[in-house]
Symmetry: C2
Subunit: 327 residues, 2 copies
């Protein structure tokens, strides 16, 4: 008998424990073409907050009473798909549960001798791909440019700052604790704590690109700082996800015209055809230690809601994960 | 002795007559390479409001005590440049004055037998080029798409809606009077009066592209209506130019990510190398009557400030001009 986390109420403001329920799942055996997986680490991601709202956007909402889907890594416990055998490490969309069954085509096998499987949820998974795609395809960054990354110590941000450094950019990053700032500085980032230093001050030299993970006041400061022909890589706005009602945007959107800015949003689900190219470029960098990563790991499936809520309080350094089983 | 309009105070809110002064100019003869021009029609344009603020953006501000520069068409009265002879029609940047002297290189000769010279200030001048560049290069519009153009009966808007129609788009346009709406309808535009119909209602079918001349509430409505991968051609925000203090932006910028929108600003001064291509494409359309235009013309240089202020009240149908001399 395994357990899973079910959405039972649509969060208003900050997600609370009472919005979720831990339930016993009815385990079943895999049918032809399917694989049963015991999850080891499950991912909590900021984008999930949007899916809890109950409105269709680029993906359908989570329905009340359903287990929360999302990225997870685990081990195959039973396989009726020729591509997978017992004990294999896989990354799946099985989400917030201890055990699940999925079609083999929806799984990707991981080789734990190359990089730790947990990286498939972070620097070599959706967050890393988001950083890479944002820089390369949306921002079209060039060596010598200056980029500002907000939420720079998060899963996406910490990949973005390092990739940008490797591509020859000057990198400024913001985060919300001394520990995070020190980590970013160790990566060669000009880091500041946004709770202490107004972004406008930190960006006074000007920037060419803004990688926006945060929205709100950081976006307004970035619009002030952007040079002519600057770009905003619109990735997320975690500062706004818990707003009960939508808040007004920046007061300085007039800069879009006068500075000829481009603000562009993206969702990596649209670009999975390029995922292999991303892994091909970035996995060797991770293996070689040229790109490092950190993880904040809570223990036990009962702590998934707390881990998720913690994303919005900046509880995570690097990728936030929950361990729901042994390796 | 000729007259000119000088900026004597930086407007606060709506421009007032008292922000300007009509002065007698000290006329001079052209020196080698220069041409003396008697202006016939001078242009008043929304972008001028920004230059009156006193902050450098993409061009320097108007200085207090200076004549207001801008586009004008007129006749050569004396030439010391081999490219121009007395009586030639020219378009210049001589602005709000009855007579001026300019370097020949800064003038463009017009052939009044092809199209009326006034078109060089409107549909075949900066406003038309703005519409063309915005659609082609910024919006990259395609046949079959739906575009919404705000300020659709203005100089830029009325060129944009017609070019978009010719390119095979479904075109929705807004304007602020029954007369304007009727004109737009006669051009095949699905037009509405934004004072009577909320844009959100008029755009309920969804749009692919928004040509933004207005900003503010229209931008918010367009962001709601835009389909995935939609684009905002950020051209201007006339609803905001007279704000004493910057106002907050739309409440729904989160759509930029969830709908993967691209919002891009532009200034045609950056793209003058393509002006010839624009004229080559659009002048024949104007000549053939496939693209029509309207002009609102006030008489007498003393009415330039009133014409300018009128832009922000929607006094103009099509291009707003002031006649400062006979043909």
């Amino acid at each position: 008998m395994s357990r899973e986390v079910v959405l039972v109420a649509r969060p208003e403001g900050e997600p609370r424990e009472s919005d979720f329920e831990l339930r016993e799942a009815v385990d079943r055996e895999p049918e032809t073409g399917e694989v049963a997986v015991r999850n080891v680490l499950v991912s909590v991601d900021p984008y999930m907050r949007g899916r809890m709202r109950g409105m269709r956007t680029y993906v359908g909402p989570y329905e009340l009473g359903d287990t929360v889907d999302g990225a997870a890594v685990g081990r195959v416990v039973a396989s009726r798909h020729e591509g997978f055998g017992e004990g294999d490490w896989v990354v799946s969309s099985l989400g917030w549960r201890e055990r699940g069954v999925a079609a083999g085509e929806r799984l990707r096998k991981l080789d734990p001798t190359i990089v730790p499987p947990s990286t498939a949820l972070g620097v070599l998974g959706a967050p890393g791909f988001t950083a890479w795609w944002g820089l390369v395809s949306v921002g079209r960054v060039e060596a010598g440019e200056t980029i500002y990354v907000s939420g720079a110590a998060g899963a996406v941000g910490s990949a973005a700052v390092q990739l940008a450094k490797l591509k020859g950019l000057r990198v400024i990053g913001s985060a919300g604790s001394t520990e995070k700032v020190e980590w970013l500085e160790s990566l060669g980032v000009e880091a500041f704590d946004y709770r202490e230093t107004p972004a406008k001050e930190a960006l006074v030299d000007g920037i060419d690109v803004y990688f926006d993970n945060v929205g709100g006041a950081q976006l307004e400061s970035a619009l002030f700082a952007l040079r002519p022909f600057g770009r905003v890589i619109a990735c997320g706005s975690i500062s706004r996800y818990n707003d009960a009602a939508p808040q007004p945007g920046p007061r300085n959107l007039a800069f879009i015209v006068s500075k000829r800015l481009r603000i562009e949003g993206f969702i990596i689900l649209d670009h999975m055809a390029r995922f292999g190219e991303f892994v091909g470029e970035v996995a060797p960098l991770v293996r070689a230690g040229s790109i490092t990563y950190r993880e904040t790991i809570l223990d036990g499936i009962e702590n998934v809601p707390r881990a998720f809520a913690g994303l919005f309080n900046g509880d995570n350094v690097g990728k936030m994960l929950v361990r729901v089983g042994p390796d």
